[in-house]
């Protein structure tokens, strides 16, 4: 009898599931397929070729934007993860007190404030600093990315910390480990999968950002996503598909890598 109550047997379940899958994956499949089109249309299939990958590879602007994206994402992910780790330690290794919830909200602010608002605010803020200091390097983008990556790095780290047995740290202290030794020898190794998860999540999020980047970047500071957005204003060729396909592979690769690392740790 219980089988009859299974959600999979409810009327319409299969239909809705299929629609969701198609809506999620069909566009991506089509995008990837047309990356290999030998013609220059993204709608008419003319045969298989790798010419668009080759063209993207030889396009200096694409390569430059990619490098810039990777550099910003790496720096922002590392900074955000360090900040998130400290924040997670501070919010879990303490007895609950009034205002702790407020602190969570404060740390997760980028998840709540509309991105466009942050973007405009940063644009105004940074432009003043630019004028005052004369510096106009990648630092602004890295700072901005760090800020909105923190909550993404924070959540998995905090989850890991909350699942961790506090008596382990107490046991270390009992065995003559100073607080710093306890952190380095016990807390950090056990926290590592959470930190890696946070790092990779932050990396992918930063790599993907358009809105804030578009507002904050100075001239000649296109990242891959903003470069692609710029190209859309002109004729679209399967080169965009090719770039997107590589981008997709990179993201999936990172997430898979993380999955295996965290599996091995447990």
């Amino acid at each position: 009898m219980a089988r009859n109550f299974s959600i999979q047997r409810q009327t319409g379940f299969t239909t809705i599931a299929v629609i969701c899958f198609v809506a999620l994956y069909a566009p991506i499949v089509i995008l990837v397929v047309y990356a290999f089109n030998s013609g220059s249309s993204i709608a008419n299939w003319e045969g298989f070729s790798l010419r668009w990958f080759a063209q993207a590879w030889n396009n200096n602007q694409v390569i430059e934007a990619s490098w810039r994206s990777l550099r910003i994402a790496s720096a922002a992910a590392v900074l955000a993860t360090i900040a998130a780790t400290m924040a997670a330690l501070a919010t879990t290794r303490t007895a609950p007190y009034r205002g702790l919830t407020f602190k969570y909200a404060f740390i997760n602010q980028p998840l709540m404030v509309p991105e466009i608002v942050t973007a405009v605010a940063l644009l105004i803020f940074f432009s003043r600093i630019k004028v005052a200091t004369g510096y106009s390097g990648l630092g602004y983008l890295i700072l901005a990315h760090t800020a909105f990556c923190i909550p993404f790095a924070y959540l998995p780290i905090r989850a890991r910390l909350e699942g961790m047995d506090l008596t382990l740290e107490r046991a270390a202290a009992d065995l003559y480990a100073t607080p710093w030794q306890t952190f380095r020898r016990i807390t950090l190794p056990l926290l590592w999968p959470g930190i890696l998860a946070g790092l990779m999540l932050a990396f992918v999020i930063s790599l993907d950002d358009v809105v804030i980047t578009n507002f904050v970047k100075s001239g000649g500071q296109d990242t891959l996503p903003t470069y692609m957005l710029g190209q859309l204003r002109r004729a679209i060729t399967p080169e965009m598909n090719a770039i997107s396909t590589v981008f997709l592979l990179l993201s999936v690769g990172i997430v898979t890598l993380f999955f295996f690392i965290s599996r091995k740790q447990d």
């Binding site: 202290a173 009992d174 065995l175 480990a177 190794p189």
Partner: protein, 366 residues
């Protein structure tokens, strides 16, 4: 009983520990004072929530007393953080480091003390031998059984040769048979290492079997401290008598006191001699306790202290329990060893006498 040196390893002076504030305040420890001697196997015994763990945590330094002081070999340890106290703990959950091997766990304390590698290796090997875990040195702690984890936790806490070892219900997670084995093992370890053990349990049998001295606790207070024999045979208070083993409580009246013995008149009219807690002078109406195994069921015709009717007979293999309803209506339990085979010779519903051995009754503090 072994001869114990009189030096005190730990002295607890008037320690109070209050959790919470205002209306939600609880005194987990209420003015506790106790001295624990060097090389002693000392047990804190009491029901759940009586403050045993709290007292251990104060000694280990994970928490601080609200009032009072704790001395370690005469020195106040209040200013020392846990990692500077020469005191180690075996945690109830073991708290083994999951990312280290058995050997790394055991060596951790010595490593943190900055001992040279050769010395650490030698000690780890010795400790592994002591707890009979040589074969499993390279295993992860998640890959060994509960009993083995227990041994590793012990070895890890013993390796730095602490002055005092604190054990918080270390055997409660083990099954009955393993627990019995580990009880003997722990006694052996304590004997071989000569380290002062403070052991926490709520299992009275375990406490009696293992301890040199026992402190019985209830709701944040220590009620009685003494050898297992003292605690069992000479309980000072009703709670102690009731918590440890089965007991018969009886009303009686003190007739006379001579030295450390008193003569009391039971409700049945019989006079018996009884002991009383040192430092008290019993008089008037008192409560006395008699352990079930210190009484005997005899034929009704025999001259005896009490008489009654057998309400129930429970055969338990090694001994038999007689539930007797005394002439005044109160229940009384007699436990008799089955020293010969065959039926006990009494029947349910039979009128019998109950004889009490001399000097076994104890008068409680009122």
């Amino acid at each position: 009983m072994p001869d114990l040196p009189d030096k005190n390893a730990i002295e607890v002076h008037g320690v109070r520990k209050v959790f919470g504030t205002g209306e939600t305040q609880v005194a987990a420890l209420d003015t506790v004072s106790v001295s624990i001697r060097e090389n002693e196997f000392f047990t804190l015994l009491g029901p759940s929530g009586c403050g045993k763990t709290t007292l251990l945590r104060l000694i280990a330094g994970f928490d601080f007393p609200t009032e009072g002081e704790i001395l370690l070999y005469g020195d106040d340890i209040a200013p020392l953080p846990p990692f500077k106290r020469p005191v180690n703990t075996v945690f109830q959950s073991y708290a083994l480091f999951p990312h280290m091997t058995v050997a790394q766990n055991i060596g951790f304390g010595l490593e943190m003390l900055g001992k040279p590698k050769a010395e650490i290796d030698a000690r780890v090997t010795a400790m592994l031998k002591l707890v009979k875990m040589e074969q499993l040195a390279r295993r992860r702690t998640s890959q060994i059984s509960g009993g083995q984890q227990q041994r590793v936790a012990l070895a890890r806490a013993l390796a730095p040769q602490p002055k005092v070892l604190l054990l918080d219900e270390p055997l409660s997670a083990l099954d009955y048979k393993l627990r019995k084995e580990m009880q003997i093992e722990l006694k052996r370890l304590q004997h071989e290492t000569g380290i002062t053990f403070i052991f926490v349990t709520h299992d009275q049998e375990e406490a009696l079997a293992m301890s040199d001295r026992i402190a019985v606790m209830s709701t944040g207070k220590i009620l009685q401290v003494g050898s297992p024999w003292d605690i069992y045979d000479r309980p000072a208070e009703r709670f102690v008598a009731d918590f440890i083993g089965e007991t018969n409580f009886m009303d009686a009246e003190v007739i006379s006191v001579a030295g450390d013995r008193a003569t009391v008149k039971l409700l049945s009219g019989t006079d018996i001699s009884a002991t009383f807690p040192a430092g008290t002078t019993p008089d008037g109406k008192v409560t006395i306790v008699v352990r079930p195994e210190h009484a005997r069921v005899v034929a009704a015709s025999t001259k005896s202290a009490l008489s009654g009717v057998i309400e129930n007979i429970v055969y338990l293999g090694t001994d038999t329990h007689f539930h007797v309803k005394l002439a005044d209506g109160s229940p009384f339990i007699v436990r008799q060893q089955n020293s010969r085979s065959g039926p006990c010779g009494f029947d349910k519903g039979e009128s019998v006498g109950v004889d009490i051995a001399s000097d076994v009754a104890q008068i409680l503090k009122d």
